[in-house]
């Protein structure tokens, strides 16, 4: 029993690590721009599809595919930022969100046009057997995922608290009007935050398809759902909360799946979110990132 619990926890934490990255990306954009970017997941899917297209047509090494995924996501993110968020900066948040939703459709249509099959194989990070550690099995790629996600989180933390750019990002999150008055070039910072968030999403997306060994056009929807859910579980707008929310979501999903079966897995997560929101738990209300 305990062995199962720990095994599930380990599995849950490694998927949770990917969720944490997705949630971080969402939260960076939401915290800084104060808008939800509905094309965040689809931009990741675009990057992943670029890598898949490269793999299908030319074949490529794991590292190159990772770079293409991240690069594609950043490119798509820049496209979204220029089209949906930059024009509405002083104006309607709804207009920006609706525009990003429209681009979501655009990305999906484009992806299915270029690669029409519903499912494509994707090179796996690790083909071999899982590692046995006492009574536990650890998949090497799950460890890579956990390690990469932790490294990415450390990078984000270092950027936010040890660099001039990070200071500007935090200023924009905490007090946007005063940030502009302090001489911060706000549009410039917005564009770079978008790039950082898209890169994080790209890393998460790559890790997920490389551990599952396959990709579908639903990746965009999937990343959006998981990212939003993890972000909300951790407390909207909080960066440490995003990481914890992601890990918690992984944890909850792994255990729900084990004890209740895969059908219940998603249901439990959404149910928990509903209960927390309905009970108006204090940490769920929007606050500035700390």
């Amino acid at each position: 029993m305990l062995v199962d619990f720990i095994q599930n926890t380990l599995d849950g934490l490694s998927t949770g690590a990917a969720y944490a990255l997705l949630a971080l990306g969402f939260t960076l954009i939401f915290g800084v721009l104060r808008r939800a970017n509905l094309s965040f997941g689809p931009a990741i899917m675009f990057g992943a599809y670029c890598a898949t297209w490269t793999h299908v047509n030319f074949g490529a090494g794991l590292l190159l595919l990772a770079l293409i995924t991240v690069g594609g996501a950043v490119l798509a993110g820049a496209y979204v930022e220029r089209l949906c968020f930059a024009p509405h900066r002083g104006g309607s948040a709804i207009a920006a969100m609706v525009a990003s939703f429209a681009l979501w459709m655009q990305f999906e249509e484009f992806a299915t046009l270029v690669l029409p099959r519903h499912l494509y194989a994707f090179p796996m990070l690790h083909e071999g057997d899982p590692i046995a550690l006492g009574p536990f099995t650890l998949r090497a790629d799950a460890l890579v995922m956990l390690g990469a996600a932790l490294a990415a989180c450390a990078l984000v933390w270092g950027t936010l608290y040890r660099t001039r750019f990070g200071l500007a990002v935090r200023a924009l999150i905490e007090q946007p009007a005063a940030a502009a008055l302090a001489g911060i070039n706000v549009p410039w910072v917005f564009a770079r935050v978008f790039a950082l968030a898209s890169a994080l999403g790209g890393v998460a997306g790559y890790l997920v398809i490389a551990t599952h060994g396959q990709i579908t056009p639903m990746l965009g929807m999937w990343a959006t759902m998981k990212g939003l859910l993890a972000m909300m579980l951790g407390g909207l707008g909080s960066l440490p909360g995003a990481v914890l929310g992601g890990l918690a979501l992984g944890f909850i999903e792994a255990h729900s799946q084990w004890y209740l079966g895969p059908q219940m897995r998603d249901l439990i997560a959404y149910l928990l979110l509903f209960v927390l929101l309905a009970a108006r738990v204090p940490w769920m209300t929007t606050r500035s990132a700390s």
Binding site: R164, L167, E174, A180, L181, P187
Partner: protein, 239 residues
């Protein structure tokens, strides 16, 4: 040629014109004060000067350059810094980080560090709280932090929007003492105030603004103080 020259500036929120053709001048090295009742458009003018709002019409020239409609960071780069109404410190950052943020455009790390030390010397209470989160400071301390943060960009013109707002009388005196000190050190100050009495004690020149226009310009003493105060708080009666 005056340091800051504002001519016929019109700023609107949608259809509502908050500034209906404002003209004034700020002389270099002086403390100039803008008084007027609530809703007169004083904060709108400050935000327009700082680049947060774009004027529909009119010109704003600072040290010979046109700055109307430029982005806020470009205006800071030209040497104009605003201490905003309600201070707007960065609450989760420490006092020291707030000062760093004020020096954002400066790349010279060593001189920035020395300027931070000078701010701490000028504002000893900020030094005591250097590692404290700015949101936990008292109103007066936050006001000092907001002023210090603006000074970190080494502005040639300091704009101050209602620095005494919500502060106890003793703290207000301290704030105005700092304003006088800055003036003595050569900083040009353009000050919006509700506290007409204190403002007139320090200003060399003042303007009255009512309903989006400048209605009076003079030096303290050119209008009887009680008349000034009445118009600053209540506006002049339309006859």
């Amino acid at each position: 040629m005056s340091f800051l020259s504002v001519r016929d500036v019109v700023t609107a929120y949608g259809k509502i014109e908050a500034l209906r053709g404002v003209s004034l001048e700020v002389a270099e090295g002086a403390i100039t004060c803008l008084l007027g009742p609530n809703g007169a458009g004083k904060t709108t003018l400050m935000l327009t000067l700082a680049g947060i709002l774009r004027p529909r019409r009119g010109s704003i020239r600072f040290a010979g350059e046109d700055i109307a409609g430029r982005a806020p960071h470009a205006i800071v780069a030209r040497g104009v810094a605003l201490v905003p109404e309600n201070r707007l410190v960065f609450p989760a950052m420490t006092v020291a980080e707030n000062l760093q943020a004020g020096a954002y455009q400066r790349r010279d790390k060593n001189t920035v560090a020395r300027d931070i030390e000078r701010m701490f010397a000028r504002f000893p209470r900020l030094k005591e709280r250097a590692a404290q989160q700015a949101g936990t400071l008292s109103g007066g301390e936050q006001q000092m932090l907001a002023v210090a943060r603006a000074l970190m960009s080494r502005p040639k013109l300091l704009l101050m929007d209602e620095p005494s707002l919500g502060l106890a009388p003793l703290v207000v005196e301290e704030i105005f003492r700092i304003v006088t000190e800055l003036h003595r050190d050569g900083v040009t100050i353009f000050l919006v105030e509700q506290n007409a009495h204190m403002a007139l004690k320090v200003a060399q020149h003042f303007y009255l603004m009512e309903q989006g226009k400048v209605t009076f310009s003079g030096d303290p003493g050119s209008l009887a103080e009680d008349e000034v105060i009445r118009r600053a708080y209540l506006g002049s009666a339309k006859s």
